[in-house]
């Protein structure tokens, strides 16, 4: 009789089969998703079984020592750009940077202000300098000159140089008020219809996004060259193509005016 048949009973095959199948599927999926895949994935630096499970479950990684490896891989860059990537500069680091700087000054200027056409480093954001040095070293940004020069630098050397040059004076940082006046429209507002945000929203003026270099007071020819390099893709170390997408959409006149504008500040 139907009504006497109990559903939640080990003697009911519907119960055992359905519960068994669901648990079985879940267990196999969990084994694959939490243990097998994370252990197999070569780009994940898991330390062991428990670590693998935590990673796959989505436990945040901040407490673990994330190694910033220097091995070249595909993609625009292997630097992890984050707000915490640079430690606050301390005297020791700046001092070591000052000791290394003479290797650089013949091109980048005695106090980081170049009289040749090399970019100015004085007052540049430390994260920007450090990232570019790493990219030169790994080959993500190519430069015959810089590539050879950074080959001998270690991670700490690059951090020290960044701390040193960042501390040298260039001129006052742009303010939001400056950004609102006198600047070309593309610098202030960008061009939303072409998916360009205002340069000031990343490069300072409205916001400084980590890793975006400071542009004001840079040489005009350097700025133009970089924008053209982004536009053609010759330079491609910008993560997610942030700058390539901007530069590709800019007209040659806009490249000229913006380069002149930033150089003149």
């Amino acid at each position: 009789m139907m009504e006497t048949e109990r559903v939640f009973s080990l003697r009911n095959v519907w119960f055992t089969a359905s519960v068994g199948a669901v648990i079985g599927i879940a267990a196999v999926a969990a084994l694959i998703g939490f243990i097998w895949i994370p252990l197999e994935q070569s780009n994940k630096t898991v330390a062991g079984l428990w670590d693998a499970i935590c990673t796959a479950a989505g436990v945040p990684e901040s407490f673990r020592q994330v190694q910033q490896s220097a091995a070249p891989i595909a993609g625009p860059s292997n630097v992890i750009v984050s707000a915490q990537m640079m430690k606050p500069a301390d005297g020791l680091s700046i001092g070591r940077g000052a000791a290394l700087a003479p290797q650089c000054t013949m091109c980048h200027g005695v106090r980081g202000m170049s009289h040749a056409d090399a970019p100015n480093l004085a007052g540049q954001h430390d994260a920007a300098i450090y990232k570019q040095l790493r990219d030169f070293k790994s080959g993500h940004r190519t430069s015959a000159i810089m590539g050879a020069l950074v080959a001998g630098l270690g991670d700490q050397d690059m951090r020290d140089l960044a701390a040193y040059f960042a501390g040298l004076p260039r001129g006052p940082e742009a303010t939001a008020a400056d950004a609102r006046h006198e600047a070309p429209v593309i610098v202030r507002n960008g061009s939303p219809m072409r998916n360009i945000a205002g340069c000031t929203s990343c490069h300072g003026g409205i916001d400084i996004k980590t890793g975006s270099p400071r542009l004001d007071g840079e040489s005009e020819s350097y700025l133009r060259a970089q924008l053209l390099a982004f536009a053609t893709g010759a330079r491609h170390n910008d993560i997610y193509g942030q700058m390539r997408n901007v530069a590709r959409q800019m007209t040659p006149e806009e490249i000229d005016t913006t380069a002149r504008f930033f150089a003149g500040r």
């Binding site: 559903v7 939640f8 599927i25 969990a30 998703g33 895949i37 796959a56 479950a57 219809m193």
Partner: protein, 542 residues
């Protein structure tokens, strides 16, 4: 036979559903016009998002919910052959849905809650938008309770008999809705409303998205329920066939109950707040829902084949020619299957972790769900209305040619709308954007496809107007003496069903258990982690 009281109740649900549908459809076509190269930049994109919020909320919440509720009441009385218990409660629930819809749509039309039907936290709109949605959901829970009560009353009176399949499926859909709507309800009550009412200024957007995903996938299966019920219990009868297997139908519905819930995170594949292992679990169970889907396709094809053979069709394919192609139900189910096939193929791409990267948040996604939801599902809503209408009005529904024209227009229109829509998605056109500069060389090639989609939309609007026309004419036609309403009969009469397939406790237990397994940890972790909230963004920016 439906009682007069129930007829009024069901008609109220259907008419409100179709009114909301027509309005929302016109808004949809307007959106397509604004997005197309036929129209200049609208200087205020907020107007576009206002329309998308209204269109999305009406199409995704109000319209399918009211169809499911009205159809559910009809099934309860027609299949159980007993007067509907709780008619007053049913009207109260309808009243809440109406009140909620008005409460939600008022701030939307004033531009105070252009947050889209998925809410998009940390964006926060006017509190009344969310309160309205809560009222709609609470109203629908009354319906769920009534479906359960009617079933249990019947079971008491018919101890030991198998529950009629239409009611079994209907109640499965109701329980699915009850559990799946809990996710969005928690998101609104515990996360969004405190901010919208000004008690808090930050919101954990990642957690909110996890809650919403709880609702987001299974709601799709809830939209699908009336359609699948119609496949099993209306189609075979309407085309002169038999249901291939009653047990297969029951198994499909309970599997939907179990598997359509714990898979919502496939909407969060690109979200960083959920671990890859959790995503994998959801992907696996997503694959599992293909089981009841395939069972349904198989069973329905077999049932249709039976109809063809009963009508004298011979040979491997001859039965297809013998099918009653002039019958609106036949046309509807065929169109629905074709669209389901195309849509399912597209869904495989969405399901794949890697391929999804390419089309994530592009117009592909909108094209995809318009094809499945607006196409395969909604075309069966039309068929349900046509099938029930004489039993609701007591009058003949004679405009069969108009019905066929309407269904053909909807089918062709939907293909013309969605194929180019998918294509521009592959070209990278993002969704939920009000304006595209087609003069730009990179976008110029997309212009023609969006225009084609707009033209397809015109066909759909024409089809919807025809649909309303057919129903209105149904109210004006001559009174007839109705034959008794029949659902499909299975090939083998259902005399005995295992208790497991005659009750829901086991399947509800599995549904809840799997939800805990697949959602418990991510939710607990996100709630426990400090500093995961971000400042809320009011949706009104002048």
């Amino acid at each position: 036979m439906l009682s007069n009281g129930s007829r009024r109740l069901i008609l109220a649900h259907f008419w409100l559903a179709f009114a909301a549908f027509l309005l929302a459809l016109v808004l949809g076509e307007w959106q397509m016009y604004i997005r197309s190269p036929l129209h200049d930049w609208i200087s205020n994109p907020e107007l576009y998002y206002r329309a998308v919020t209204a269109h999305g909320s009406a199409m995704a919440y109000v319209f399918p919910l009211l169809v499911a509720m009205g159809f559910g009441y009809a099934i309860a009385e027609l299949a159980l052959k007993q007067p509907l218990i709780g008619l007053r409660w049913a009207w109260a629930s309808f009243g809440l849905v109406v009140l909620g819809t008005v409460t939600a749509m008022a701030p939307v039309s004033m531009g105070l809650a252009s947050v889209l039907y998925t809410f998009y936290p940390p964006m926060i709109g006017n509190a009344f938008f969310y309160i309205g949605i809560v009222l709609v959901v609470v109203g629908s829970w009354i319906w769920v309770a009534l479906m359960g009560i009617n079933l249990n009353a019947w079971k008491k009176a018919h101890s030991g008999e198998p529950v009629p399949l239409p009611m079994f499926a209907n109640v499965a859909g109701a329980y699915l809705w009850a559990w799946t709507s809990v996710g969005a309800a928690m998101e609104i009550l515990f996360q969004i409303l405190p901010v919208a009412l000004g008690f808090k200024s930050t919101i954990d957007a990642g957690l909110a998205r996890v809650f919403f995903s709880w609702t987001l996938h299974a709601i799709v299966y809830f939209w699908l329920m009336p359609t699948y019920i119609a496949f099993y219990v209306l189609v075979p009868r309407a085309i002169g066939g038999r249901l291939y297997s009653d047990a297969m139908a029951r198994i499909s519905f309970v599997l939907f109950l179990v598997f359509s819930m714990p898979i919502g995170m496939h909407h969060l594949f690109q979200d960083p707040q959920v671990g890859s292992g959790m995503k994998f679990m959801h992907a696996v169970f997503t694959a599992m829902v293909s089981v009841p889907t395939l069972l349904t396709i198989f069973t329905i094809c077999a049932s249709v084949e039976i109809a063809g053979r009963l009508r004298g069709g011979k040979g491997a394919l001859g039965w297809i020619a013998a099918l009653p192609w002039k019958n609106p139900m036949m046309l509807a189910v065929a169109f629905s299957f074709v669209m389901l096939g195309f849509g399912g193929a597209g869904g495989l791409i969405n399901m794949s972790y890697q391929l999804d990267f390419v089309i994530h948040n592009t117009q592909w996604v909108t094209g995809h769900f318009h094809l499945i939801f607006g196409g395969a599902i909604v075309i069966m809503y039309f068929a349900i209305a046509y099938d029930l209408w004489p039993h609701l009005t007591g009058r003949a529904l004679e405009s069969v040619r108009l019905m066929r024209a309407q269904l053909w227009l909807w089918f062709i229109g939907m293909l013309v709308v969605t194929f180019p829509w998918h294509f521009v998605g592959i070209l990278g056109m993002p969704r939920r954007m009000a304006y595209f500069d087609y003069s730009h060389p990179a976008l110029a090639p997309q212009a023609i496809y969006v225009t084609v989609t707009f033209v397809g939309g015109l066909l759909l609007v024409a089809s919807a107007v025809l649909f309303i026309l057919v129903l209105v004419r149904g109210h004006l036609a001559n009174r007839i003496t109705l034959p008794e309403f029949r659902f499909s009969t299975p090939v083998h009469a259902t005399t005995r069903v295992p208790v497991a397939l005659n009750s829901f406790a086991l399947w509800i237990a599995l549904m809840i258990g799997l939800t805990v397994v697949n959602y418990g940890f991510p939710i607990a972790q996100l709630m426990a982690l400090p500093q995961t909230s971000v400042p809320a963004v009011p949706s009104v920016v002048k």
